[in-house]
């Protein structure tokens, strides 16, 4: 190289070094600084002339400063070069004593056979600060995400789960490690699962992200297969050009439950208002129907075949009236006469009635509170509610089982009965009817109090039994709860406001009867329908009669054969068990010739005639009948001359 050319190269290199952004420094084998470029001056705060010729360790903080001499000595003696060719992160020391992080790469060269070292220095202060800020920000984000009450989930553009926070673990029942790397569809039930695949595919094709920025309600799938409603809001972010999606999941289970309970309560209230409102008009319509049908029936005396059609209309009108009454009970618009009821006594009295009303395979147990418990309620309605519940319980135990009636006094506060079950704080008497029958699933349970909701076959129940119980409890300022498990049974608990024992004593309910004829004779009632049976028993007993009961003809004959001698046989015509009412009457009269007989039937007379079952001279009471009619017909039958 010519001297002129060499001069050129020299000045070009000098220009490069002077304008380099990174610091460039040259030292000899003893550490003396031979070159210190302007970038070095900026970084260390020294001017070149302060540094040139000085030992480089002035630019190092401890412990590098002390270690540097030994390092160079070792190099000189052994030729061992630990740092050459390798960049590393070290600390520099500024003129003012401050230190700063720097990346130092060192190269080796020879000048007149003596080694010199070139150091290229990059100030890392800003990068470090940025990294630290980033790290801190990430840590803060992590803290937020880890402790968030809502679920936070991160997925990539393919739907693969990148992050799953502890709230998600709680909500879904999965550990993060079980889901990370898997497709998010595993957290969705069908059909959302398949929709999601299509959604992701569409997004990848068109870039159209339908859900971003919009919260929506979706259903999520837990590890155990159950589902829960959630509000999902999704945000999109870019990571190295690829989209990632952040999902924030808010569990809506509790809110849904409250909403459903509210809607249910509103529905019940609406039906109540509606039925209360139409009852009056409806009763007038029924009066017209009943009155005309009866008038028609009288005019059709000569046409027995047509007459029963009119009778059917009249009977249907009366059944309509009963339905109206039940609806009024549900809508809490019946007239209640609350008195202080001795619930223990009431339950024990009912025990007698229930034992005769329920099937024999029902084991009736009564466990009353040790001390007297008084509730403020209408005694007749409480009896009716308990009878309803007992009959429901019996129906839930087709193969028999235990039915338990219990009473106790308890203190309730507004939260005692769980969310959505409002109750005023105070003392209550709880009367509980428990069976060990078939129980109810959650869906049935949720609708159990709803009017006209029934699980029974058509014709077996009106679907108003529990609604009436509900209406009665609410109108009495009480509450009613059901606990049930499929296969384990059901427990219905009535809570009625506790009353003081000193309050006015329970009054005998006055029946609005125009002087119903009474008697003291023994009446054998044969009736297969438990509800009707219990009604007949209580009606006849309130009229003074002694009542024996049988649920079918065979049982009744057995009683007569073993010496029972009632004055009157009051029997249903159509009964299961192989012996109908006519046959029963015939056989009964051979056993007890003086026995009077009164038949009852809910079936049209014609269908009985067609089967040769009708005795034109027989006394017949057509169902449904009122107590006054029952009283009159029973008396008539008993007073008939032999």
């Amino acid at each position: 190289m010519s001297p002129a050319r060499s001069q050129h190269v020299q000045s070009r290199l000098q220009a490069v070094v002077d304008t380099a952004v990174d610091g460039v420094m040259v030292i000899d084998a003893f550490g003396a600084v031979l070159m210190f470029n302007p970038a070095c001056e900026r970084m260390f705060g020294y001017r070149a002339e302060d540094v040139l010729g000085q030992n480089v360790k002035m630019l190092m903080p401890e412990p590098y400063q002390s270690g540097h001499d030994a390092y160079l000595r070792n190099y000189r003696e052994s030729g061992e070069r630990k740092i050459i060719g390798i960049g590393r992160e070290v600390l520099g020391r500024k003129k003012n004593g401050a230190t700063f992080p720097m990346d130092l790469s060192v190269g080796e060269a020879f000048e007149d056979d003596r080694p010199i070292f070139v150091g290229i220095i990059r100030d890392l202060t800003e990068r470090k600060a940025a990294e630290k800020a980033l790290r801190e920000s990430a840590e803060r984000m992590r803290a937020v995400v880890e402790t968030a009450v809502d679920g936070v989930i991160l997925i990539d553009a393919f739907g693969n789960i990148l992050m799953f926070n502890p709230a998600c673990e709680r909500l879904f029942g999965y550990k993060a490690r079980e889901v990370i790397g898997h497709n998010v569809r595993m957290l969705m039930p069908s059909p959302y699962r398949d929709e999601h695949d299509a959604y992701i595919a569409n997004y990848r094709k068109t870039g159209e992200a339908k859900i971003i920025g919009i919260g929506r309600e979706v259903t999520a799938l837990r590890k155990d297969g159950s589902t829960f409603p959630m509000d999902l809001s999704v945000g999109e972010a870019k990571q190295e050009g690829e989209s990632i999606f952040v999902g924030v999941i808010h569990d809506l289970s509790a809110r849904k439950r409250t909403e459903e309970q509210l809607a249910q309560a509103q529905k019940m209230e609406t039906v109540g208002q509606l039925s209360g409102g139409i009852a009056h008009d409806f009763n007038n319509l029924l009066t017209v129907i009943l009155g005309n049908a009866e008038a028609l029936s009288i005019r059709l005396k000569a046409r027995e075949d047509l007459r029963h059609l009119a009778d059917n209309i009249a009977n249907a009108a009366e059944r309509g009236a009963q339905l109206t009454q039940r609806l009024l009970a549900f809508s809490r618009r019946q007239i209640l006469q609350p008195t202080a009821i001795d619930c223990n006594a009431l339950v024990e009295n009912m025990q007698v009635l229930l034992r005769r009303t329920l099937r024999e395979d029902i084991d009736l147990r009564v466990a009353v509170a040790p001390q007297p418990v008084f509730a403020l309620a209408d005694a007749a309605q409480l009896e009716s509610a308990l009878l309803n519940l007992a009959l429901n319980a019996q129906d839930a135990m087709p193969k028999g089982g235990a039915l338990t009636l219990t009473t106790e006094e308890i203190e309730l506060d507004p939260d005692s009965l769980g969310p959505g079950v409002d109750v005023r704080a105070g003392r209550y008497v709880s009367v509980c009817v428990t069976d060990d029958g078939s129980g109810m699933d959650a869906e049935t349970l949720a609708r159990a109090f709803e009017p006209f909701f029934t699980t029974k076959e058509v014709g077996k129940g009106s679907g108003l039994g529990l609604s009436m119980v509900y209406g009665f409890a609410k109108q009495s300022n009480g509450q009613v709860t059901i606990y049930s498990e499929p296969g384990l049974g059901t427990s219905v608990r009535l809570y009625l406001p506790a009353a003081d024992a000193e309050a006015e004593p329970t009054q005998q309910r006055q029946l609005d009867l125009p002087m119903a004829p009474r008697g003291k004779e023994a009446v054998l009632v044969v009736e297969d329908d438990a509800f009707v049976r219990s009604h007949v028993i209580s009606s006849l007993e309130s009229l003074g009669y002694r009542v024996m009961i049988a649920s079918d003809g065979r049982e009744a004959l057995g009683m007569l054969q073993s010496g029972a001698r009632p004055a009157l046989l009051f029997t249903d015509v159509v009964m299961p068990g192989g012996i109908n009412g006519w046959q029963l009457a015939e056989e009964a009269r051979t056993l007890a010739p003086e026995l009077k007989v009164l038949f009852t039937s809910g079936y049209p007379l014609e269908s009985l005639t067609s089967r040769d079952q009708v005795d034109p001279n027989a006394l017949m009471l057509t169902k449904p009948y009122r107590k006054a009619e029952l009283a009159r017909r029973v008396r008539e039958a008993l007073d008939e001359p032999d």
């Binding site: 007038n284 009066t287 017209v288 009943l290 009155g291 005309n292 008038a295 009108a317």
Partner: protein, 129 residues
């Protein structure tokens, strides 16, 4: 029985009136009808009647007021109140009827012989007095 008892039947619903009148006539009563309290009271004043059957909830003058006025004028007149509503102005229909002076109350709907039976009983009682 000699001459049939004459009943004044008051109900604002013409169909109810006709249906109940049919039943009462079939049971052997003579029936005069009126569509409201005022007309009913007028009828009772003009005609010689043996008993009154009146609805409780009617537009205008209600049944309870009518019963009160009838009772004030004829202390011995048998009066049967009938009602389709169990609650009237927040009060039990039966209570309201008895307080205003009715001798019996029947909840609609009812069988014709229930009404006839109640009337017969009341008329027999009155004859006995």
């Amino acid at each position: 029985m000699g001459t049939p008892a004459r009943i004044c039947l008051i109900d604002d619903d013409v169909f109810v009136r006709d249906a109940l009148a049919l039943g009462l006539r079939d049971a052997g009563f003579e029936v005069l009808t009126a569509p409201g309290a005022a007309a009913g009271f007028d009828l009772a004043v003009r005609e010689s009647i043996d008993a009154v059957v009146t609805d409780l909830s009617m537009p205008g003058t209600g049944g309870a007021q009518l019963i009160g006025e009838l009772r004030a004028r004829w202390p011995q007149l048998p009066i049967v109140a009938i009602s389709g509503a169990s609650v009237i102005d927040g009060r039990a229909a039966s209570e309201l009827a008895r307080e205003s002076g009715a001798d019996a109350v029947l909840a609609k709907p009812f069988r014709a012989h229930d009404l006839a039976g109640a009337l017969e009983r009341l008329l027999t009682e009155r004859r006995a007095r």
